[in-house]
């Protein structure tokens, strides 16, 4: 923002009737903003949770944060783009996550499992290197520029209109898909035999092995499943956001914030933190006030010449990308287990 202060709002006309109209228009605007931001925030939060759930499961299993998790999300988006060019969006929605899931399982089987004996740091660094390599490979194949990944024609219409904002049907579809997967995941984990074995393997792997289950294979499948979930998020988010080789780098750190703030290894925590961060991010982007405005409101004037002028004149919208990290530092400093975590990281 070049101009230090926002131009003063136009004063409403003196006639009471007109002033009332203006106010109701302003109220409408605020209401519209809140409604749309809430919808978008929940949507972003659910997308985050699609990824964070896999990451949390993988962490609870192996005790290692998968740095490459966002890279699998990116792979999902690019595979979705490539496959949908040949067979259309709907088959891609199924094929791309399956492919990424298989790749994830192979990575676990032939990469992570070998590194495991060298300790957690080596595992973390392995996934760090993997993220690096995946980004380079994606850049090599699809280039650095965004690819033209379009919303399927079937969903390319306006679902509803709030005052003046048209809400696209595709966003509703994204929301439904992520909520649907969330419910299925919850049901599988808590209601089925497979889910019980997975849950038991998280806490008592030796006992589960004694009972005759192949725990390493369970780990491999969960890793693959986690990657596939991230890929689903990628396939459906790709057309709505930008499908580009830096998308993993942009989202990865936020994903870590989600799982750490929620409490490492806690699925409910990841859910709450996803929604929280989704909402905070979306609302922050739409607030256009700065510290200078705040001081201005209490009678202090700060302009471009005052010391630390940058700091006072930054708007909330501009620092929106920073807020999750501030939250992370705060949470870890005040409550190291995260919101719902039971173990100290």
């Amino acid at each position: 923002m070049e101009s230090p202060r926002h131009p003063p709002r136009k004063r409403a006309a003196t006639s009471p009737r007109k002033r009332g109209e203006v106010r109701s228009a302003a109220e409408k605007l605020v209401l519209e903003l809140i409604l749309i931001s809430t919808l978008n925030g929940v949507l972003f939060g659910m997308l985050l949770f699609l990824m964070a759930s896999g990451l949390t499961l993988i962490f609870s299993m192996m005790g290692v944060l998968n740095f490459a998790h966002a890279s699998f999300y990116m792979l999902g988006a690019f595979f979705g783009f490539q496959i949908s060019r040949y067979v259309g969006f709907w088959p891609a929605l199924v094929i791309a996550p399956l492919l990424v899931g298989v790749i994830g399982a192979l990575v676990e089987r032939y990469g992570l499992r070998n590194v495991h004996r060298h300790g957690h740091v080596a595992e973390l660094l392995f996934t760090f290197g993997l993220a690096f390599v995946i980004e380079e490979v994606v850049q090599m194949i699809w280039g650095k520029a965004p690819v033209d990944y379009r919303i399927p024609a079937l969903l390319d219409f306006t679902a509803f209109t709030v005052f003046s904002t048209n809400y696209p049907a595709y966003k509703l579809f994204m929301l439904l898909i992520s909520i649907g997967i969330f419910i299925v995941l919850l049901a599988v984990l808590t209601r089925t035999r497979v889910g019980l074995i997975i849950q038991a393997s998280l806490t008592h792997p030796n006992m589960v092995a004694m009972l005759g289950h192949n725990v390493p294979r369970v780990f491999m499948l969960v890793f693959g499943l986690g990657c596939a979930l991230a890929a689903v998020a990628g396939v459906i988010a790709g057309p709505a956001l930008v499908t580009q080789s830096n998308m993993a780098g942009l989202l990865g750190p936020i994903l870590f914030v989600v799982v750490v703030v929620g409490g490492l290894g806690s699925l409910p925590g990841a859910f709450v933190a996803s929604l929280l961060i989704g909402l905070i991010q979306t609302f922050a982007v739409s607030v256009n006030a700065s510290l200078a405005d705040l001081f201005g409101a209490i009678g202090l004037t700060l302009d471009a010449r005052s010391p630390f002028a940058d700091l006072w004149n930054v708007t909330v919208a501009q620092i929106a990308p920073v807020i999750p990290y501030l939250l992370l530092v705060l949470i870890l400093a005040l409550r190291p287990t995260g919101l719902f975590g039971t173990r100290e990281t």
Binding site: H118, V121, L125, F128, M140, G143, D310, L328, V329
Partner: protein
């Protein structure tokens, strides 16, 4: 990896010459390695005279300090940081602003002391951020360091006044007070400045590892709980190590600022933090000298590989993964593994299997490189035609022949490697066993 470090440490401690205290010849002998290092630093520009070599050696010197300071955290104290570039970058920014202020005010301060200022800036920010982040070790520390790094990196794009936005902030290193008539215009003078600071920092950091504090750091890495039982605060040891690492990172950043005369937001970025992690780990975090080796190698590859191929970062990442998977001790770990064999003069037993393994690895490497480069040509650089030059040979990427040859090379090499790996491993364990029985008898 960490156990190996401990063992080597013990060996060094045990093999210390029992010279009478005060004997200056013995003292000189003990520190001979640093004299040799000083000599090497002084003579290198005489051997490599070209401008490229000089620039590269300057960058290597900076990277050595940076990687060694990083290893104070990862190798010595067991703290995995993803945001070490924060202190490097902030040191650089403070030095550039200070230099500009000194030039404006015409203060009588010479350039060679500026890195100290960078170090102090790094230290100050390490104190601030460290007080938040070092309360926990392990994954929590890694995550906080990542969060702080993102915080600073994002702020660097917002606070334009201090960080100079995307174009960065420039300075002029020649306009400070002159000493001995050196204006630090020519690269050779900057090289000697960097070399001197590199040597000072290396000695200081090595000396730190020999102090009780250095040992406490190792203890925190190995078993933080026990530290509390002997009446020490692991948090405080971590905090201190973090601050010192921040100081040396600041020195490295200041030298980089002096070398390039420009700093921008990429100095504090995650990429820079990633590079130093790569350098330290590839070099080997278990030995003091490891990160220095890694810094030299990584800087060399960064400059040379980027000339040869556009996708050098991919090779870089693959190399890193290979080190993590197959040689978690890094280069230094691999070399040190063979030190006892070298002393016992049984290294020749390993020659044949190692040559076989090396040959197999090279075949796989060549095959894989050809496949990657062919793909790159076909997919990315389609506009430049399908004929390309690789290893000095002209190849048509659209023909089947090169692909077939590459596939055969990769697969065959992989099979050879599978055969050669156990041979090398056996030869190594046999030789080690022979040395051990020899020592016992």
């Amino acid at each position: 990896m960490t156990e190996a470090a401990g063992q080597v440490g013990n060996q060094i401690a045990a093999s210390r010459p029992a010279a009478p205290a005060g004997s200056w010849i013995a003292a000189l002998w003990r520190h001979a390695i640093w004299l040799i290092a000083a000599l090497v630093f002084a003579c290198l520009p005489l051997l490599f005279r070209s401008g490229t070599a000089l620039t590269m050696m300057s960058l290597m010197g900076i990277m050595i300090i940076f990687a060694l300071s990083y290893n104070m955290l990862l190798g010595q104290t067991g703290l995995l940081s993803f945001g070490h570039a924060v202190y490097y970058g902030l040191g650089a920014f403070f030095v550039v602003h200070a230099m500009n202020a000194i030039i404006r005010a015409k203060l009588p301060i010479p350039l060679p002391v500026m890195p100290l200022l960078g170090g102090i800036a790094g230290l100050a920010f390490a104190i601030i951020f460290g007080s938040v982040s070092t309360r926990r070790g392990g994954t929590a520390f890694a995550m906080i360091s990542l969060g702080l790094a993102e915080l600073v990196a994002s702020s660097s794009l917002i606070l334009r006044g201090f960080f100079g936005g995307e174009e960065g902030i420039t300075t002029n290193r020649t306009r400070l007070l002159r000493v001995f008539d050196w204006n630090f215009g020519p690269q050779i003078q900057v090289y000697y400045l960097i070399a001197a600071w590199c040597l000072i920092c290396m000695i200081a950091m090595y000396a730190l590892t020999r102090t009780p504090f250095g040992r406490m750091c190792n203890a925190v890495r190995e078993n933080p709980e026990r530290i509390e039982f002997i009446g020490c605060s692991r948090t405080f040891v971590r905090f201190l190590a973090f601050c010192l690492a921040g100081f040396f990172a600041g020195v490295a950043g200041a030298l980089a600022a002096i070398n390039f005369e420009i700093v921008n937001a990429s100095y504090v970025g995650l990429q820079q933090s990633g590079i130093v992690l790569l350098a330290a780990y590839i070099g080997g975090t278990g030995h003091f000298i490891g990160p220095a080796l890694g810094a030299i190698l990584v800087t060399y590859l960064q400059i040379m590989l980027s000339d040869v191929t556009e996708i050098w970062q991919l090779y870089f990442g693959l190399m890193f993964i290979a080190v993590v998977m197959f040689a978690p001790g890094g280069l230094a770990g691999l070399l040190m593994m063979h030190a006892p064999l070298l002393r016992a003069r049984v290294l020749r037993l390993l020659a044949v299997p190692y040559v076989l393994l090396g040959a197999a690895a090279s075949i796989v490497g060549v095959g894989a490189i050809v496949i990657v480069e062919l793909t790159h040509r076909l997919v990315v650089k389609t506009t430049e035609g399908t004929v390309m030059h690789l290893f000095g040979i002209s190849i048509n990427a659209a023909a089947a022949g090169p692909w077939l040859i590459a596939a055969v090379l990769t697969a065959g090499g992989a099979l050879l490697m599978r055969a050669a790996w156990p041979m090398a491993a056996h030869a190594f364990s046999d030789a080690t066993a022979a040395v051990q029985t020899g020592e016992r008898s």
